[in-house]
């Protein structure tokens, strides 16, 4: 069973190395590192360099209504076989976080998908356009305010 990084090192060590304003929320399968979006790139680079999280498993987002959007990253270390969930939060009105394509270029389409379906933009992304839906589509279907039409 590959494990969470936090079964290998203490939370204090991790928090100390990731710097200020980084929080740990939840435990077990729910555990995630929550990073303010201003420090996201610095923390991700630290995780890549010092903890060898070389593999970006997944990027997605959750619409938390009033509390804004959570952008969720699932990281994996191929050499050390451990994983970690990192989250960052952006408000409903801003709906923008920095891109991690500079850290893991494979984030390209994953971030475009989030932008397309959830309407969270990624600042600095090389090609911030819709991925699945046509350009002229209005709205972002995975937002909770987007209601499915009743069946005819």
């Amino acid at each position: 069973m590959s494990m969470s990084l936090l079964e290998k090192i203490t939370t204090d060590d991790l928090l100390a190395s990731l710097g200020q304003d980084v929080q740990l929320l939840g435990e077990g399968a729910n555990l995630s590192v929550v990073v303010p979006k201003e420090r996201l790139i610095a923390v991700m680079e630290e995780l890549l360099k010092n903890y060898s999280f070389d593999y970006l498993g997944d990027v997605t987002a959750v619409d938390r209504g009033e509390s804004g959007f959570e952008v969720v990253y699932h990281l994996f270390s191929i050499s050390n076989k451990y994983e970690l969930r990192v989250k960052t939060i952006t408000t409903q009105s801003e709906a923008e976080v920095p891109t991690v394509t500079s850290v893991w270029p494979g984030a390209n389409w994953m971030e475009r998908e989030v932008y397309d379906l959830m309407g969270v933009a990624f600042a600095g992304h090389p090609d911030m356009t819709r991925l699945l839906l046509p350009e002229e589509f209005e709205g972002h279907p995975l937002r909770k305010t987007f209601k499915l039409q009743p069946r005819a």
Partner: protein, 364 residues
Amino acid sequence: MQTQTFELNMGPQHPATHGVLRVILELDGEIVVKATPVIGYLHRGIEKICENRSYVQSIPFTDRMDYLSGMNNNLAICQAIEKLMALEVPERAEYIRVITAELNRIASHMITIGVLALDLGGWTGMVYGFRDREKILELFNKLCGARMTFNYIRVGGVAWDLPDGWIDECRQFLKELPEMLKTYDELIMGNEIIQLRLKGVAPLSAERAIAMSASGAVLRASGVDYDVRKANPYGIYDRFDFEVPLGTDGDNWDRFYLRYLEIIQSARIIEQALEGIPEGPVMAKVPKMLRPPVGEVYHHVENPRGDLGFYLVSDGSPKPYRWHARRPAMINLQLLDELSRGTFIADVVATLGTLDPVLGEVDC
């Protein structure tokens, strides 16, 4: 003489794009300057649909994502829900899950091999792949009444027990498999034209494969030892003895040949599972209406096409608050552009074939 590049549309309706994929090719003569995949023609909004249904109702939708490996998709979503609810699965069901998932991996790889032969102009190769896959689909048909869209693996176990004589038929299939593999080996892998078309074309370095989040055979062909069954064993995969075949160059040939080698390993796993399968129930006690506790889970499995992950967020209600699939075929398809640059138009077809996208999963 003045020359300039020109654009050529491949697809969305094209026999070699494995479904409705459009690739905009910028060409300098016959050499590809840029290949831009355009996806979304098959987008059904499965994530949104599943957020408006109960957890169990989302299982059949996963059958329709990567429709060549429905069992593996069923397995992934069911295990994700079980993790969220901390459910235990009976032993016998765990074995049946491994047997069906590995059979489905063999079926899926047979299609990949056969279709690539077809893409390169070898009709006969395709026919053998489809012929042999039919034997597996017939086994599945006896098991659950469906050839492609199984909905057989359920939350808490499997829908029902194996029918009488099924294990013997499965053993019979494994007995016939070496003969099938020999046919592929002699007819397809041993074919000089196929080797010349694939070897050394579109190589991918290990560093780049990792950085681009590639997974499955695409990643391992570059020599990266990452198989979720080994790196993060789910279910009972840690009980089986099997190897993870690795490539060296990450070229089209390695990506292609790895699938052939994986069939052999899957057969090994099935043999061990058929040997060790215990008697007993195949379904845990599961409430009719699932209400997982508030929380979230990310569960990933090794699908024939790579690392398939499900991220579920529960708010305690019967419907998932967030239902997200990490689709390996989509993420692998990102590589098409950089792998195709500088190769011939005809090689784009081969590269696409070795990346092996299933558009139902790419578009979701």
